[in-house]
Symmetry: C2
DNA sequence: GGCGGTCGTCGAAGCGCTTCGACGGGCCGC
DNA sequence: GCGGCCCGTCGAAGCGCTTCGACGACCGCC
């Protein structure tokens, strides 16, 4: 019932019979303290249930041990992926003794300015970065340690982490081409996502197109809205125009289910008539029916790396510019050789 | 390039030619300051781009202006709903000058203890609360202002906000019964969700069962795993056992698509043969085909209310114990009179 | 046996802000 | 015309922590 925020470092010092600074050094390890004193202090910490006051610590050490996770909060976001990122970020941050402040950029530049200037966070993690993201110049101006999840057009001097989506597109096409498919289509993100220049969508498209050209495969690229009806419309049109279409790359989690459900109703069995490969979380691929051959977005891994890099930057260590994670294709039941 | 964290309240005071405390009072409004001084100070704030140091402010005022958003981070979570909550929470918090710290409870009780004791946050917002949530007793012990999203079994002395899921179940059944359906089924959350006693699942079930009994409708309740295959299995079994089943309540976002896709393949058209009503975000209902009659989970509204209540508690104002939002059923194209 | 060097600990000075009590100067009333 | 009062402002004392310089004790060496 009583809130024990009264326990200060001074209480611990008194309880252990040492100076305040000694307690501080025991806790931070920044100076050598004899084993016996150290043990006594830690015992007192335990006994009193002491936790350092975050504000005071931040004030004195000029370090908040908090990182900001900046989400754009706009439509067409890949919600489950974003969530996975966020969770990976929080979990990883905790392992390096940091907490995570959740920030949306709909406050505009002022929001980021405020966060940075108030010394509330030591670094910024930007998610869902667009090719021409308005937050990027701001970031440069702020001069705070930061890591981007995604790849803007001008990544100069920035630290970025992302899946190699160009490679993901390539891998998908190589897989389909290897199975003998000669005409394939990329069913992409909603048009709005391309329009605002979201990096992963454009890079995947390029990967698909480049690889198809290289391998002599005919590839057609279509944005795809969410919703069963929209997907059906798109598929009908696609198959009408190219009846020999036999390979499909789907980069839209929300479309995966509808695509697999709709194709049979259009007289195309999966994988006998049409092979489908997805770029989506494993979870979706596993739950689909038939189970979907896919290139997963390694959200966890990206989140982990991003935090690790950010913390290193906060500590002033040098870090690489861009980290692109290699795509891996997992074969399941939705792809088969071309008849 | 230069990070301007050097701008302190002292700089502002000097620039405006007043005392530090005067600047503080201008900014907080806690004392009357003459209009002329006030204007001058604000001009200096602007000119220098001053933002108060969060740590120092927290230390001196014993208030961090931050609330913790505690997510459980477990499987079977309704990811998009959670995300919607989170966004609503962040946005609302900003309107009352608070930020949001994202916390997962997988650190266990120690995590919450730490957050509370470090005075990092002024209050806690717990999401996805179970009927017998282990965090609830801890919360009582911590004695920090808190609000739960969800309804635990023992809500005594706690502040809770949630949709009235019992009412949601009732509304669905009333709607179907009103259309003349005499045998209906609730396709619920995955079994794991019931097993761990998640409140909304149990309350919905009770609402369905109670109302069916009252109206003389036969209702059968089944948990439902995610994934197209699982949904299909469930539906086949259901229809085999009760061929006269003509009404379906679906409380599982991930199942909505598969259900609507699968029913026609089992010889049941929607809504001609089977009426389907969902308890899910509007977004899903709109995108479904046919568009789904549904009771939406008002995530935004719940998030807003929760933050508002929490802030009031932080300020020591009295608040109501539990707030249950009224369910509203939106009619769309997936329900029709029984033939 | 005294001198320099460690090693372990302490004290005090801030970090940037809020807040409390005090204070000077107008204004009022008598 | 003077005491009292309010209004607007100031100075200073912390809030709880980190960190720097200092200092005593103990060691080994010449």
């Amino acid at each position: 019932m009583k809130s024990p925020d009264l326990v200060t470092i001074a209480d611990v010092a008194r309880h252990a019979g040492v100076a305040v600074s000694t307690v501080s050094y025991v806790l931070s390890g920044k100076r050598v303290i004899s084993e016996v004193t150290r043990t006594r202090v830690l015992a007192s910490v335990q006994a009193l249930g002491y936790h350092p006051n975050a504000g005071a610590r931040a004030l004195a050490s000029r370090r908040a041990n908090v990182i900001a996770l900046v989400l754009p909060l706009r439509s067409g976001m890949q919600v489950p992926v974003v969530m996975q990122f966020a969770m990976a970020v929080v979990t990883t941050a905790r392992t390096v003794d940091h907490d995570v402040l959740l920030v949306t950029s709909d406050e505009g530049p002022a929001g980021l300015r405020r966060i940075a200037a108030s010394a509330m966070v030591d670094g910024l993690l930007l998610m869902d970065v667009e090719l021409n993201d308005s937050r990027v110049p701001l970031l440069r101006e702020l001069g705070r340690p930061s890591v981007l999840i995604g790849l803007p057009a001008d990544a100069d001097g920035l630290t970025c982490v992302d899946l190699d989506f160009h490679g993901a597109g390539r891998v998908c096409v190589e897989h389909l081409a290897g199975l003998g498919h000669r005409r394939i289509a990329l069913l992409g993100a909603p048009a709005a996502v391309y329009d605002r220049g979201t990096g992963f969508a454009h890079r995947t498209r390029a990967g698909v197109v480049d690889t198809a050209a290289r391998l002599g495969v005919d590839a057609v690229v279509r944005p795809c809205e969410e919703g069963t009806a929209a997907v059906r419309r798109e598929l009908v049109e696609l198959l009408q125009r190219w009846p020999d279409l036999s390979g499909l790359v789907v980069q839209n989690e929300a479309a995966v289910g509808p695509v697999l459900a709709t194709l049979p109703t259009l007289g195309r069995r999966v994988p006998e008539d049409v092979s489908v490969v997805g770029i989506c979380p494993d979870q979706f691929a596993e739950q689909a029916s038939p189970r979907l051959t896919s290139v997963p977005v390694p959200a966890e891994e990206v989140g982990r790396q991003a935090v690790a890099l950010l913390v290193r930057k906060v500590h002033g260590e040098p870090v690489p510019g861009s980290t692109l994670l290699q795509p891996r294709l997992t074969m399941r039941d939705s792809t088969a050789p071309h008849r």
